[in-house]
Amino acid sequence: MRILIVEDDGEAAEAMAKGLAEAGHGCEISADGLAGLEAAGGGGFDVLIVDRMMPRMDGVTLVGRLRQQGDQTPVLFLSALGEINDRVAGLNAGGDDYLVKPYAFAELIARVEALARRRETGSVQTVLRVGELEMDLIGRVVRRCDKEIDLQPREFQLLEFLMRHAGQSVTRTMLLEKVWEYHFDPQTNVIDVHISRLRSKIDKEFDHPMLLTVRGAGYRLEA
């Protein structure tokens, strides 16, 4: 996966590029908004990581221009501004996700991979399949090895998100944001308990576990 990092803090950009390279992604770095716009215009990137506050052109303007030009490459905004207003402004400008600085690196990788994946599965699906697991989005039915699994509405949403991002790590914060739509981190392990409930329903009676815990990052659903 090729990633463009548009970030004026050179050291942070280097560290990010190094980490992403270790996760197997190729990175390019632009040090300001205009250079970023030019680089992104060249195309060929799967995800853009864009800082919001930069010299010459800020991130929101940059993404607005790109979207105007019809470029739909997924964008992850990075920002020190964490207020809901700022988040909404970023998403309105055409950003696809928003990560507030400072962040854990696992969080960044998980989100970047989630964005790239979203692009691949562009078509509207009515049935999701991950290995033995099958989810009928219209009938609201989940089966594993043709055995129906009874899920609460929130558990259904949680599993849908995990299935859409199967094979990737998703963080607790991502789950809280995307499934519950809360933008704060609880001090307790609320998400872990929801996951263990879901796990007991989809994994307990089967020979191998699908819902795995990724140390230091979060969870991953594997076929």
Binding site: G82, N85, S196
Partner: protein, 466 residues
Amino acid sequence: MRLPRLLRTTPFRLTLLFLALFAASASAFLAYIYIATAGEVSRRADAGVSREIQSLDAVYRSGGFAALNQAVIERASVNHGFLYLLMSRSGAPISGSIAQSPVRDGEGDDWASFMLTETDADGAVIKRPARGREERMGGGELLFVGADVGESQSYVVKILRALWGAGALVIVLGLAGGVFISRGVERNMASLNGVIEAVRRGELDARATLRGAGDEYDELATGLNDMLDRLQRSIAGLRHAGDAIAHDLRSPLTRLRARLEAAMIEADAGRADPRAALHQALDDADGVLRTFAAVLAIARLEAAGDAPNQAVFDPAALAADVAELYEPLCEEKGLDFRAELTPGLHLVGNQEFIAQALANLLDNAVKYTPSTGAIMLRVRRRSSGDIEFSVTDTGPGVAEEDRASVIQRFVRLENSRNQPGAGLGLSLVSAVARAHRGGLELDDGPGAVDGSGPGLRVALVLPKNG
């Protein structure tokens, strides 16, 4: 060149402008009066002269030259304002009250304006304006009749002089008034400018004094004072937030640094695996990030005054969502969790903040309530109309004397030291309450039962209209 300060003030400039306008219109007015009155004076004189010529012409027609001569002599001896001169065909004077015709040759019967020179009783020479014309009689004799317009002319001049004088007086008084008004305005502005100057020097406490007149200066002063109050509050809020962030992050970072240093010494001595220390440091850093996020949220809320993005929502629905998030956690810990949510209520507020506040209250309740305990989340409307969110647990509770302090940041009571968390939970809830102009109340829970309790009841009370 710099004008004296007073002359540069706006009221004085307005005065000057007004006086200039006044002078221009007064001049136009005077010019009109002069033309109208002076014109009228000569018209009246002309009419009188024409009538006199007609009547003398009638005398000439009926009585001939002798009768005319007689009439001229008679009339000239009686001073009733007219001047007469009867001349022969060649223009030689025959009789009359003046020695020579003021009408020069070649002017025909045109009107002539001239000065009449007289000597008064004291021997002083007086020149008076006069008008007149010549008429040739049937026999070829020339008759000149003139009128002394000096009386009425000088009257006009007197009126004009009076008007000019009055104009000058108005201008002088106007300038004096302008100076007076400018002084007054300047005095009032000076106190306001003094306040602004003081604020510019950094004395944010400076305030304008009201004169109690209720006029626009008082209005301006009130506005200035209000603005400074708001500014001071928000600067104080920011300063406080900055101090708080510095303070709140210094201790966990110091801890992290100490741990890394200790790990390095251990690793150098070959006594421990540095990987364990790295994991530990990572966890510590995550803790710092969480603390940072919480401190920032509190600081922002405290600096913002009222919570942003307020909207109408159903508090029961919001509480149900948060309850749904925490219910499995309670079950896992063996806590009896119940929610009593009054439906159909409306509240104005920031849903994100309020949800976070409820999550913090439930976090605390789950942390401090021993297993087999119970937690109750309740939403209800008080008789006052305020909306109350409350979380009641059967944990150890908080002693009455500690209740005020647990709301402050980083205060963790002695028996909670072994629990995770940075001690920011209740201070965030309290900041959310303040941002909605509400309050936070701490009470005993259901009381001591079977060695546990007395429990804690925390209520977030928000006014109905946010």
